[in-house]
């Protein structure tokens, strides 16, 4: 058993209207991975932001190697040997990969001139260690979100810290990248680093973590050895009750076509043809960069179509903007809630109603009472945890932000709902609630296109599955036929071609 390196003791923190942390303690041990678990809004990220000096604690102590420390700001934390990979990407988009990795710690020669080659070389080594193929001289906004996440991890590694915190690092990664991240974590363990690992994916927790600290509603529930726990027990600690079946798949009578896409071709996708029936959930699987999001956005009217046709309920449609798509009953929920999904500076209520303000129009102005009532309904229905509807969305926890984005899409009452990574960052209980929502949509005779990198979710909730690779459909499977091997096979075949 490893020596205790980090100890956070009796930490409390309040925000206006919320007690985010109430007397919470956390330890991290040398050569071990400590999982930090809890529902959305339990206070995990807040605790880690206190550790990294983003927030100041109201009370409590932080001990590093037995000595009390006072973390002033993230830079100070890094100097003390604490590295954090934050839940939301913190890279500067128009700088290059290596510039981001060395941001604030640029290497210079004796004339204060940047030693670019040296930084590029070191970046290359770091990225190779993570087994990702990224040219460090590319600008961050030119690479995929998954790769951006890997750059963020590389930056944390480059600090050579003794405590490394990872706040949902695998959120935007696909299985392959997750595997290489886990290899790195195992390496770090042999180097006697202490790691704190936050994730809503319990499978990962069992794979790499040694212990778990569980929070609920800002309070410490327990610290346990992973080897003494099973999935149900963890869920029970997190949620306070047991959950039944993880994927509540609902068989529905699928009937006529709602959406038909024929030979769709543009800059991002080639020759895409598929149909979508009433009451159906169509899963789209593939690696990051397979063109799945681009396909969704093309149908949503964001990107122009070069060739091919889209039929909605038998009528040919051609949307010039998302506005037209929404008016005709197609809605898309982005995988990137921070930069595309939400207006973080606006409150919860205004975000939820942003796409459906026509519903609240009166002779003059908006019916704010009705708006309040309707958004309150959604807040309860999908359990958005927020002190009030006028809270700014940027102050919500990651998972609750995702729920706001989903509430916004549901309020438009779409016939076709395109969900891009719908459960990213969402806790086990809330996932279940979102799957129940899928079923409700099916029952109403509407349909869903679910783009997801989570294989179990794709297999568990889809009626039919399409596998994409590099902008092309590589195969289609019915629910009965589909297995993760078959899906991977289609992808690998795509890789070989």
């Amino acid at each position: 058993m490893g020596r205790e390196i980090l100890r956070m003791e009796n930490i409390s923190k309040s925000f206006p209207g919320v007690k985010a942390l109430d007397d919470v303690s956390l330890k991290a041990y040398e050569g071990e991975v400590m999982a930090l678990l809890g529902e959305n809004g339990a206070g995990k990220s807040t605790l880690m932001k206190i550790l990294s000096g983003v927030y100041t604690k109201d009370s409590g102590r932080i001990l590093l190697n037995g000595e009390e420390i006072n973390v002033l700001n993230p830079r100070d934390a890094a100097e003390k040997g604490i590295a954090i990979i934050h839940q939301k990407l913190n890279l500067i988009p128009n700088l290059t990969v290596y510039e981001n990795i060395f941001l604030g710690r640029e290497k210079v020669n004796s004339y204060k001139v940047l030693k670019k080659d040296c930084m590029i070389d070191e970046s290359k080594k770091l990225l190779e260690r993570l087994r990702v193929d990224i040219d460090p001289t590319l600008r961050v906004n030119e690479i995929s979100i998954a790769k951006q996440q890997m750059v963020e991890i590389a930056r944390a590694l480059s600090l050579n810290a003794s405590v490394i915190v990872m706040d949902e690092p695998t959120d935007t990664l696909t299985d392959k990248e997750v595997d290489s991240l886990f290899d790195v974590i195992r390496e770090l363990k042999t180097e006697n680093k202490a790691i704190v690992y936050i994730s809503h994916r319990l499978k990962e927790v069992f794979e790499v973590c040694d212990r778990a600290t569980v929070l609920r509603d800002g309070k410490l529930i327990d610290e346990r050895m992973i080897s003494d726990l099973d999935e149900d027990e963890i869920i029970k600690l997190m949620v306070g009750r047991t959950l039944d079946e993880q994927f509540p798949y609902l068989m529905t009578q699928v009937s006529e076509n709602v959406l038909e896409v024929i030979n769709l071709t543009n800059k991002y996708v080639k020759n895409i043809s598929f149909s979508l029936k009433k009451g159906e959930v169509l899963g789209i699987s593939g690696l990051v960069g397979a063109g799945r999001s681009e396909l969704g956005k093309t149908i949503f009217g964001l990107y122009p179509i070069d060739e091919g046709e889209i039929f909605l309920e038998g009528k040919k449609v051609e949307f010039k903007s998302p506005k037209e798509a929404i008016e005709n009953g197609i809605m898309y929920v982005s995988e990137d809630r921070k930069s595309e999904g939400l207006v973080l500076s606006m409150d919860v209520k205004s975000n939820i109603t942003l796409s459906s303000l026509d519903k609240f129009k009166r002779a003059i102005g908006l019916d704010k009472k009705k708006e309040e009532r309707v958004t309150q309904e959604y807040r309860e229905k999908i359990k958005i945890k927020t002190p009030s509807l006028t809270q700014k969305v940027k102050n919500l926890s990651g998972g609750n932000q995702q729920k706001v984005a989903i509430a916004k899409s549901l309020l438009t009452e779409p016939k076709v709902l395109i969900l891009d990574e719908p459960t990213r960052g969402i806790d086990v209980g809330a996932k279940r609630e979102i799957y129940d929502l899928l079923n409700a949509i099916k029952k109403e005779g509407h349909c869903v296109i679910m783009i997801s990198s989570e294989m179990p979710e794709i297999l568990g909730m889809s009626d039919r599955i399409i596998v994409m690779h590099e902008g092309v459909i590589k195969g289609e499977l019915t629910r009965e036929e589909a297995t993760s091997e078959k899906i991977m096979n289609y992808i690998i075949k795509g890789e070989e071609n």
């Binding site: 949503f300 939400l342 207006v343 942003l354």
Partner: protein, 311 residues
């Protein structure tokens, strides 16, 4: 609670400045002087109201001063040639709307940065005004025209100057638009996160174009008031007004980054600037020193605001 206080911050600044000024110069609180302050503030406040829309979308409008000058000149020309008063006013407002729209189109369809696009319009219209007026003032003649202009400049309703009433009505309408309508929400959404707004079905180009149009319209209304006050169109009318308008918006707590702020802050900001100018005059401060004092006050006010936001 804290956010409420944060919103009231510009207001506290205003109260502070009123207290200080009335102590230094007791004349300040006389009814006559207060009405003068309001009357003088109205022009900047009306321009700043339009500027608030533009800044909330994360844009900027440098052309308002020139739009004011040009539409004033057009209006004066029409009036002098015996055109119906209301048609002349309408024409001036149309000119403002048109060039606002022009700004909007260049910015959204041409993808030119607002700073550059409106800078070009600013120079263009100043030049056009010079050409149109031949560099000389156009004095308004004709009985009905001078009568109505005098009414706008010096008339009052129940003791309140007409220009001030116009200002209040305009702010009431702007408040309604920004806080109670779909368009108002869209303004905040576009300024807060344009891509997210687009994906939420907001016609972001249209929202921005309208904002610049509103700014142009309000600048030309201010142009009519300026014309009324001088009873002639000066070729340099409105020169530099864009800066006072921007200062009023920022003093009112609206973020230049867009998406955050409120129109009520803008009127407070405009009042702070108006009172400051008035006080400096009452105290007989030389105009060159006035500039320095104004700059310092604006800087301090904005710095205080920033400090609060960083916490």
């Amino acid at each position: 609670m804290k956010t409420k206080l944060g919103k009231a911050k510009p207001l506290l600044g205003l109260i502070l400045i009123i207290v200080v000024v009335s102590i230094i110069s007791p004349n300040f609180l006389s009814k006559g002087n207060l009405l003068t302050v309001l009357r003088q503030t109205s022009i900047n406040a009306i321009i700043a109201a339009g500027m608030t829309f533009v800044i909330l979308t994360a844009g900027i409008d440098l052309s308002v001063g020139s739009i004011l000058g040009f539409s004033g000149a057009i209006c004066a020309y029409l009036l002098t040639n015996g055109t119906n008063v209301f048609i002349s006013f309408l024409a001036a407002i149309l000119v403002g709307a048109l060039f606002g729209l022009f700004n909007g189109v260049v910015i959204t369809k041409g993808k030119v940065q607002p700073f550059i696009a409106t800078l070009a319009t600013m120079i263009l219209l100043r030049g056009a005004t010079m050409v149109f007026t031949n560099g000389k003032p156009i004095a308004v003649k004709g009985e009905s025209a001078t009568k109505i202009l005098r009414y706008i400049a010096r008339g009052d309703i129940l003791g309140i100057p007409v220009a001030v009433i116009m200002m209040v009505i305009i702010f009431a309408i702007c408040y309604h638009i920004l806080h109670n309508t779909k368009y108002g929400r869209h303004i905040y959404a576009v300024g807060g996160n344009e891509q997210a707004a687009l994906l939420s079905g907001v016609n972001t180009d249209r929202v921005k174009m309208l904002a610049y149009m509103i700014s142009g319209i309000l600048a030309s209304i201010a142009g009519i008031i300026v014309l009324a006050r001088l009873s002639s169109a000066q070729p340099t009318a409105g020169d530099g007004y864009e800066l006072d308008a921007i200062a009023a918006v920022v003093l009112g707590g609206t973020s230049l980054a867009g998406g955050q702020g409120a129109i009520l802050g803008t009127i407070v900001g405009a009042l702070i600037i108006g009172i400051l100018n008035n006080a400096l005059n009452l105290l007989d401060v030389q105009s060159y020193y006035q500039m320095i004092v104004r700059a310092i006050v604006i800087l301090i006010a904005v710095l205080l605001d920033r400090k609060d936001k960083n916490k």
